[in-house]
Each structure stands twice: as structure tokens, then as C-alpha cells.
């Protein structure tokens, strides 16, 4: 019935079938009945995503090394790094929670950045995709909801307010790094067009 299946596109949310036509750069093609965005190519998206992803990786590394909140009360002071926060749950069954927190705020965001760079670099250079690129991109997409750096940043702000009465609190360098990281992650997300990447991976 349809000779060239490659030219068709089905909406992942509602299964509506369309012939795929690449819209002009900067325009978006959305499903007519559920409005899910299907195709959204951007100019130089690949290169820009790689640049932002590299910058984000540097910020993650930096944020690991510096404290994100500091507190002092009655002459005693303490500063917490991301690793401290992640390891706050270290007794008995709380260890699972520690591992989960490390995964959600550091490991998965970093892994996603690495996978994205790995998938997009050869595509931007017009080289054949690196081995395992399809699996890498599939995983990058799958872990997307579990990468929670931005939620952690808001969490910091909430913790700050909770502690204001108790002690003198200050935001450390890592907090600002993480804030910038969140902005970079959002920008990367709006630049990413899954359809274009999957097509390019199968050239």
C-alpha cells in the first residue's frame, strides 16, 4: 500500500500517520490532532548542542568539586558539596536513597551529556556514525525523565529558605554552576530534533 515506508512518520503519542516533509529550519511540524511536535530542525543544531553539552560537562565536574551551600551558626560552620548531599543518607536502608540521589543529580545528567556528544560528533563532521550510536541515542532518550539536575537547583533554594532562621546560610559556587547548567540543558533540549538525528544515524 505504501511503497516507501521511510517517507512516513507516525505520531508517537497518538499513532496518526503522515508523510514526513522536512520543514524549513526553525519551523516545526506538529501532529494535527494531538499537537505533539514531530519534527523541529534548527540551524547548526548539532554543533550547538555539542558545544553546550561540553560546557555542561565542565559545569558538572566543577559543581562536584565546590560547595553549593555553606552555613554557620554559633561559631560553627559547615559547607556541603553535591557529593555530601548525595551521601547524606548513609545509614542502613537509606544507602539506596543515597545511590538514587547520586544517579539522579550527577550520574544520569552526565551520562546523557556524554551519550549526546558521542552520537552527534560524527554526524556534525559528516562522518559515518560511531559504533553503538543508535543504542547510545536510545539510552540518552530513555534516561531523559530521570535526569533531575534542575529539580536539585530549586531544592537548594528551598533548603536555603528553610535554614535562614536557623543559621547564616550562603550559596556556594557550585549552586551558581548548577543554575547555569540547568539553562544549558533546557537550551539543548529545544535544539534537539529526534527525527533528524534518527534519520542522520541511518544515512
Amino acid at each position: 500500500m505504501y511503497s516507501d515506508l521511510d517517507s512516513l512518520i507516525a505520531c508517537p503519542s497518538c499513532d496518526a500517520l503522515y508523510t514526513a516533509k522536512r520543514p524549513a529550519k526553525g519551523e516545526r511540524a506538529a501532529c494535527a490532532r494531538c499537537h505533539t511536535v514531530l519534527i523541529a530542525p534548527r540551524r547548526n543544531a548539532g554543533l550547538r548542542i555539542i558545544a553546550y553539552a561540553l560546557a555542561s560537562l565542565v559545569l558538572v565536574m566543577g559543581a562536584l568539586a565546590f560547595p553549593f551551600l555553606g552555613l554557620s551558626v554559633a561559631g560553627l560552620g559547615n559547607k556541603a558539596t553535591l557529593i555530601d548531599a548525595a551521601l547524606a543518607f548513609s545509614e542502613g536502608p537509606f544507602v539506596i536513597l543515597s545511590l538514587a540521589v547520586v544517579a539522579l543529580i550527577v550520574f544520569l545528567p552526565a551520562l546523557r551529556l556524554l551519550l549526546t556528544i558521542y552520537v552527534l560528533t560524527p554526524l556534525v563532521l559528516d562522518r559515518p556514525a560511531w559504533p553503538g550510536a543508535k543504542r547510545a541515542f536510545r539510552w540518552a532518550e530513555r534516561i531523559k525523565p530521570w535526569s533531575m539536575a534542575e529539580i536539585f537547583v530549586i531544592g537548594c533554594a528551598v533548603a536555603l529558605v528553610k535554614l535562614v532562621d536557623l543559621a547564616r546560610v550562603e550559596l556556594g559556587p557550585a549552586f551558581w554552576m548548577f543554575s547555569v547548567l540547568v539553562v544549558l540543558l533546557v537550551v539543548q533540549d529545544t535544539l534537539m530534533c529526534r527525527w533528524s538525528v534518527w534519520r542522520a544515524l541511518n544515512r
Partner: protein, 215 residues
């Protein structure tokens, strides 16, 4: 906004065209295929078992949410007093200090969103079976909001982690996580899995069946 070109006339679904769509990369294949050759994902025209998984995670999430509200989330020890705060207790504490904005955020993230999520997922799962007077577009929006917002409930767990790591000032003041931190995190994770298990294409199938019945 440019639209992709519909095949012709009314919308045809991949299944009606005798095709199966890959939900990961949007490529279509003949119905007989079981694995997408473009991205390697498993192909299912309609995930008929997805409702079972939705309900299984839903129940697990709900069961974890009950102790999350009953046990303390935070235990604060200072020179003069010991205090345990449940989720709602913490909100009241914040509000009594005048931090109404933050109290509202926490109340929304830890109580409002989880409960709304349980209701929304249950409603979507039931509507697929029984139909609903609420339109498909609206239900699709509900699903997208649930998927997007659900993660934000994790904020309270992160706050506990931050407080517990930071406030370790020997005898002056110490904050330790309570059992609710664990069960609340589990509840959030389970409900996220529940929402992810839901195959939103089923919302739209119902409409097609209704349409045919009327015609």
C-alpha cells in the same frame, strides 16, 4: 507553524494502514515486524499489557505514599529540643515562620502533585477502558502534564538530602533524614514508572471506535 502533510483526507493511524509505529523514533514498519530496524526499539502496535503495568506501579506508588505521610521526613536535634517533621508538619512549620511562598511550593510538590497524579493516572487508565466525556485532546494534555510534572515531586527528597548533609554541627544542631524520605522517593519513582507505562495511543483508539459506532 508548518505541519507534516496528512496522507489524504481524515487522519489515518499507522495501525489502520496496516503498519506499526516505533514510539521512540517515529519510523513505521509492516505490522509483522517486532523490532525497529532504525533505532532498535521493540515494536508494539498497541501495548495491551501496559494497563496492567500502569496499575501495578500505581498501587506500589500509592502504598509507598501512605507511610511517606505518616512518618517523619526530617529529624532535627538541637541543644534544647528534638523535633520530627512530617511532610505536612514541615509545611506548617515553614508557614508559621512566614515563608508562605516556599511553604506553598513544598505543599504543591509533596502533597498536591502526588495526589493529583494518582487521580490523573487512574482517570486516564479507566477512561481507556470505559470511555470518557472529556475529549481526547484534553486527556492527551493531562497525560503530558502528568509526565512533565511528576518528576518535580522529587524536590522534597533533595531538600532533605541537602539539609541532612549541611546541618551537621555536632551538638548544636543536627538534621537527619526520617523514614518518610525513603518511602516518599519510592512513591515518586513508582508513579513515574506508572505514567511511563501508559500507552497514550490508547486514548485516541477509543475515539476511532466511537466514531465507527456512530457512522
Amino acid at each position: 507553524m508548518a505541519r507534516t502533510e496528512p496522507l489524504s483526507g481524515p487522519i489515518v493511524t499507522a495501525r489502520e494502514a496496516g503498519l506499526v509505529a516505533c514510539t521512540r523514533c517515529t519510523r513505521v514498519w509492516p505490522l509483522s515486524e517486532t523490532r525497529c530496524a532504525r533505532c532498535g526499539s521493540k515494536l508494539v502496535s498497541r501495548d495491551t499489557q501496559s494497563l496492567q503495568r500502569v496499575w501495578a506501579w500505581w498501587i506500589a506508588g500509592f502504598m509507598a505514599y501512605i507511610p511517606a505521610n505518616l512518618y517523619p521526613m526530617l529529624e532535627t536535634r538541637t541543644l534544647v529540643y528534638n523535633q520530627s517533621d512530617t511532610i505536612v508538619g514541615g509545611v506548617i512549620e515553614l508557614a508559621s515562620h512566614g515563608a508562605y511562598g516556599i511553604a506553598f511550593v513544598i505543599l504543591l510538590a509533596s502533597v498536591g502533585i502526588p495526589i493529583a497524579k494518582f487521580v490523573a493516572i487512574a482517570f486516564l487508565a479507566l477512561s481507556v477502558r470505559r470511555g470518557s466525556r472529556i475529549g481526547q485532546v484534553r486527556r492527551q494534555q493531562v497525560y503530558e502534564v502528568v509526565e512533565y510534572i511528576g518528576r518535580w515531586s522529587m524536590i522534597d527528597v533533595f531538600v532533605v538530602a541537602i539539609l541532612a548533609s549541611l546541618v551537621q554541627l555536632n551538638i548544636v544542631v543536627t538534621i537527619t533524614p526520617g523514614p518518610a524520605a525513603l518511602t516518599f522517593a519510592l512513591s515518586v519513582i513508582f508513579t513515574m514508572l506508572s505514567a511511563q507505562a501508559f500507552d497514550s495511543r490508547m486514548i485516541w483508539d477509543r475515539q476511532e471506535q466511537d466514531g465507527k459506532a456512530k457512522a
